[in-house]
């Protein structure tokens, strides 16, 4: 079954990765995205998107994938 939460999380994660500053190193940028997700997303949401990443992370941008690997 299609998960509404997952669909929206994928676009949110991509959006966050697109919006956080890019004038820093990729490492720092990924950390900033990861920390944002850590601070604002619920436990269940983090678990669900990590599982999605583990299953290939379809739809996630490269930046979002790298950040999610850190949380």
């Amino acid at each position: 079954m299609e998960s509404h939460q997952l669909t929206s999380m994928i676009s949110m994660a991509n959006q966050i990765a697109a919006n956080l500053p890019h004038d820093q190193s990729q490492d720092e940028c990924d950390k900033a995205v990861a920390s944002h997700l850590q601070r604002f997303w619920s436990r269940g949401m983090k678990e669900q998107i990590r599982a999605h990443l583990a299953a290939g992370g379809e739809g996630l941008s490269e930046g979002a994938k790298r950040a999610l690997a850190l949380i």
């Binding site: 509404h4 929206s8 966050i16 697109a18 004038d23 604002f40």
Partner: protein
């Protein structure tokens, strides 16, 4: 005799005759043998009043500049000829004034005689009887006879204008003192009234001999307030008589938070009179707070708790306890079956701080998760995020009054004359005094051009391009060397500044490079940036046109960057000022409504913070953030979220993508709604807890200036319990004990746990009138201006604000951009204002579009048009208007069947999920009937109303 100095602050019922002088230089004079010391610029009338000598007056009032037309305030001044009017005579050092003697007494009686000979002497049946300044003055001057007789030429047959639903204008009683005209100009700034004719022929009229309803009048009531006679009079007083006692309380409509005297007869509210002692409004008001309170006693109020097992069933009225137990057992059952995180709740920005605090406490402590959110999610969540990231505190920096010290004002995505009218009047006053105005808005709002006001620059940008615009302004400031270097060096963090400077100086942010994106000519952007940067004091005011975008948070940070770079922070007349929508948006955010923050913006992951709350609340708290409103809806659709407690919010109407929201609500197993009406959300509910209006409870609201104002109970709750009591009942039924006997005890707990509130208590509020947080040991009387010496995070941080275009773009199928807004007479989802006479001004939502777009589609004024987006379609009437720019259409969302949110999408701000209400790609076509959604809405609405009627019928069986 001793020298006396009197400060009028504190005596708010008295009329001192002329405004308080702001001068700090003092002048000493003698009035009737007493020495008095007052600030330079004070009138003789006011100086006398300060020491308790009330010189008779008619045309003067202390909220208006003196005019000097009635002459009844005449005095004698040693060494001067004649009898000067004391209201227009400023004090001078060494002056010797006589306010009463035989000559003056005679003079005043003569003047009174003239007035009275042209005044209907029906005092006994006059609605102002007992509260009429003309009557008082006749008494004060000792008028005993009217020698001119009453049969001369007069105005006794002049007609009454009753067109305004709230007040009438009985011209036969008018003494042509022009107080109303001046109030409309000086206080309200609308210039709707004029005095036409001269001498005996002169008379007051709205516009050019129009009726009030047909004129520019916005029904603020300032003229009614100013009128010394019964000429301009509230209809409620005409119908019900003069009130006998009053209670000071706070308006429950918008984020200005005006103080009112609720004037009562027993427990019946006769009228609301703006309170001079209210520091947010200083005696002014708008049509909503002043007049639109009838909803509180409207017949649609539901006053009995109700329950049902499914939303396809009629409601059943039950006792409070049955309702609590019903809800508690359902919610507990859900948690057992689907897990602890399967329930959550929404706090209200319309309820009090204390009530909001209790709801989030019930969720965190009673439900055991952090699934709490508030409707601020959909309006100002980016403000909290953006300001906290840059300046360290999630709130605006100034008082409203600060605008009177601004030399340049930039208004971005806000429409204060409609949405924050009392602040709008103050702003206009400053603009008439010469401050420069820059407006950034896709529409031509009233502010852009109105009587005696003309914006220096109107940056008519394309919806969705705010960040490109603010970056261009900052680029100009930095590359043209307009920064405040000293401020930047001492008050901001060096590294963040250097990074930002490098970023913003890049030529891709220049006005020339971005004019393609924003649609604003580069020269206009340059000029606006220079005006802002060059002003001694420049202030930014912004509204939902900033926050409700996919880059809402970025834009808030961009605004903060600009203010910091130009040193416009930390004193009067400057600052970054969010104009909050609902009355208690600030408060609901402060009170820990967000899923990641405990009260006072303390993150749930901080173990020290959690420990403090755990020790007072007696439970263990979850360390992970909970779900936001849109997350809750998605989880509901996924089947993992099943129960919800919603206090005083109408998410079914106010949240975007209605079809999605409705599907989510339908999938819940237990929805508990607490509201004063059976609102749209309640139609999907299983438990209805009747709410109490702001008149029925004690508490506090926090306005957009961080000002905590008292709400005072003036009548008992119609349903028996105030909202905070109902929340306690639900908590207790859930097995989490709550026992407060008065909201003041809740505030004491808030103060104990929230570092910015430690000095707040009801006693202190009574003492000080109101308090602007932070209020603690460092600032025992509160903090009117923030960041004066340092920021809560020490030095402020510049943020990198890259423009990322929204995904919501116009294309071939949806070539227009829809943006939404509000109007003066209606409020938000309209549940309150639609149940008042305010309907007379706006009884449906209209789609505005530019003549070019209308022509393309063969649409003329009044046609029915379908507005369709990729998520839905709705039908409204059209208005062709050149306030719009081509390609942009606009509507309000005050009426549920308009379904404006049927078309808005679930795009949202990247950082906070605040929905992108301000940009939706749509197509507009001419049609002949309502949309599918509207038909279904009507059917569902009728069905649910029957279910409510069934509950009431039961009661009578």
């Amino acid at each position: 005799m001793s020298v006396q100095y009197f400060d009028a602050k504190g005596d708010f019922d008295k009329d001192f005759g002329t405004p308080k002088s702001q001068s700090t230089e003092l002048v000493s004079l003698e009035i009737d043998g007493q020495t008095v010391v007052v600030p330079m610029g004070t009138s003789v009338l006011r100086a006398a009043s300060e020491i308790g000598i009330q010189i008779p007056k008619l045309c003067a009032s202390d909220n208006l500049e003196a005019f000097g037309s009635c002459r009844i305030c005449a005095v004698e001044i040693e060494g001067r000829r004649g009898t000067p009017a004391s209201c227009t005579t400023p004090v001078e050092a060494g002056m010797k004034v006589t306010t009463q003697n035989v000559r003056l007494g005679k003079l005043r009686r003569n003047i009174m005689e003239l007035y009275i000979s042209d005044h209907p002497l029906d005092c006994l049946t006059c609605p102002a009887n007992g509260n009429c300044e003309l009557q008082d003055m006749a008494g004060a001057v000792g008028l005993r006879e009217v020698r001119y007789g009453f049969d001369g030429e007069n105005h006794l047959d002049a007609p009454t204008d009753s067109s305004n639903p709230y007040f009438s204008f009985d011209a036969s009683k008018c003494i042509v003192c022009s107080r109303c005209v001046r109030a409309c100009e000086e206080v309200q700034g609308t210039f709707a009234l004029t005095i036409s004719g001269r001498g005996f022929e002169s008379k007051v009229s709205p516009g050019t001999e129009q009726s009030f309803m047909d004129s520019d009048c916005v029904s603020c009531g300032a003229c009614v307030q100013a009128c010394p006679t019964s000429t301009l009079m509230e209809k409620s007083v005409i119908d019900q008589g003069q009130p006998e006692h009053s209670v000071v309380t706070t308006c429950a409509y918008c984020g200005v938070g005006c103080s009112f005297k609720a004037e009562m007869k027993g427990s019946e509210l006769i009228r609301m009179v703006p309170y001079k002692g209210g520091e947010a409004n200083m005696g002014h008001s708008c049509v909503k707070g002043r007049f639109a309170f009838g909803y509180a006693t409207h017949q649609d109020r539901v006053t009995k708790p109700m329950v049902r097992d499914s939303i396809d069933q009629p409601w059943k009225e039950v006792s409070w306890d049955e309702a609590f137990n019903f809800a508690a057992s359902k919610l507990k059952g859900i948690q057992q079956k689907y897990g602890r995180d399967s329930v959550g709740g929404i706090t209200s920005s319309r309820c009090t701080n204390e009530e909001t605090y209790l709801v989030q406490k019930l969720i965190r402590a009673g439900f055991g998760n952090n699934n709490t959110d508030t409707c601020a999610r959909v309006c100002h969540s980016p403000t909290g995020f953006g300001l906290k990231t840059t300046m360290g505190e999630s709130a605006g920096t100034q008082t409203f009054e600060s605008v009177l010290y601004a030399d340049a004002v930039m208004v971005i995505g806000a429409n204060p004359t409609d949405a924050h009218p009392v602040f709008g009047s103050l702003l206009k006053k400053r603009l008439r005094q010469g401050a420069k105005l820059i407006v950034a808005d896709p529409r031509s709002t009233d502010l852009v051009r109105s009587p005696h006001i003309q914006a220096e620059q109107h940056l008519k940008l394309r919806p969705g391009t705010n960040v490109a615009l603010i970056n261009a302004l900052a680029h100009v400031v930095v590359t043209e060397g307009l920064e405040d270097k000293a401020f930047v060096e001492s008050r901001t963090e060096g590294d963040s500044y250097m990074r930002w400077r490098a970023f913003i100086s890049d030529v891709r942010h220049s006005p020339e490079a971005t004019e393609e994106i924003t649609g604003v000519p580069a020269e206009k952007m340059r000029d606006a940036a220079r005006i802002y940067a060059a002003a001694d004091n420049a202030a930014i005011y912004y509204g939902l046109g900033v926050t409700e975008h996919s880059q809402g948070s970025t834009m808030v940070m961009g605004i903060a960057n600009l203010a910091m770079a130009t040193g416009n922070i930390g004193r009067k007349g400057v600052g970054v000022n969010p104009l909050r929508g609902q009355n208690n948006v600030q408060g609901s955010c402060d009170m820990g409504s967000f899923p990641h923050e405990l009260p006072g913006y303390q993150h749930v992951s901080d173990p020290v913070v959690r420990a403090r709350f755990e020790s007072v609340w007696g439970v263990q708290l979850d360390e992970e953030p909970g779900l936001r409103i849109p997350n809750m809806f998605n989880a509901a659709l996924d089947g993992t979220f099943k129960g919800m407690y919603v206090q005083g919010e109408d998410i079914a109407q106010s949240d975007p993508n209605t079809a999605h929201v409705e599907a989510a609500l339908r999938s819940l197993e237990c929805l508990v709604v607490q509201d004063i009406f059976l609102n749209e959300t309640a139609k999907f509910a299983h438990v209805f807890l009747p709410g109490s209006s702001f008149l029925e409870k004690d508490g506090t609201f926090t306005n957009a200036e961080r000002r905590i104002n008292r709400v005072r109970k003036v009548m008992p709750p119609l349903a028996g319990l105030a909202d905070w009591e109902a929340t306690m009942g639900l908590a207790n039924a859930l097995g989490y004990p709550m026992n407060y006997s008065h909201p003041s005890e809740i505030m004491d707990e808030i103060a104990q746990l929230t570092p910015t509130f430690t000095g707040v208590s009801y006693d202190r509020l009574d003492e000080l009138g109101s308090i602007q947080w932070p209020c603690n040991d460092a600032a025992p009387e509160g903090t009117p201006t923030m960041h004066v010496e340092s920021f809560p995070i020490g030095q402020a941080r510049f943020a990198i604000t890259e423009y990322v275009a929204t995904e919501e773009r116009s294309n071939r199928r949806f070539p227009l951009l829809l943006t939404t807004g509000r109007i003066l007479s209606q409020y938000n989802v309209g549940a309150q204002t639609r149940r008042t006479e305010n309907q007379n001004w706006h009884d449906e939502d209209i789609l505005e579009l530019h003549p070019v777009d209308a022509l393309d589609r063969g649409i003329s004024d009044g046609d029915m048009v379908a507005i369709s987006s990729r998520v839905g379609e709705t039908v409204l009437h059209a208005r062709v208007s050149d306030r719009m720019q081509p390609g942009v259409v606009y509507t309000t969302f005050h009426h549920p069947n308009s379904g404006a949110n049927v078309v808005t999408t679930d795009n949202s701000d990247w950082a906070t999920n605040c929905p992108e209400y301000k940009v939706t790609a749509v197509q507009v076509t001419k049609v002949t009937g309502e949309s599918n959604w509207q038909q279904q809405f009507r059917q569902f609405d009728e069905k649910q109303k029957e279910f409510l009627a069934d509950a009431k019928r039961e009661e009578h069986v």
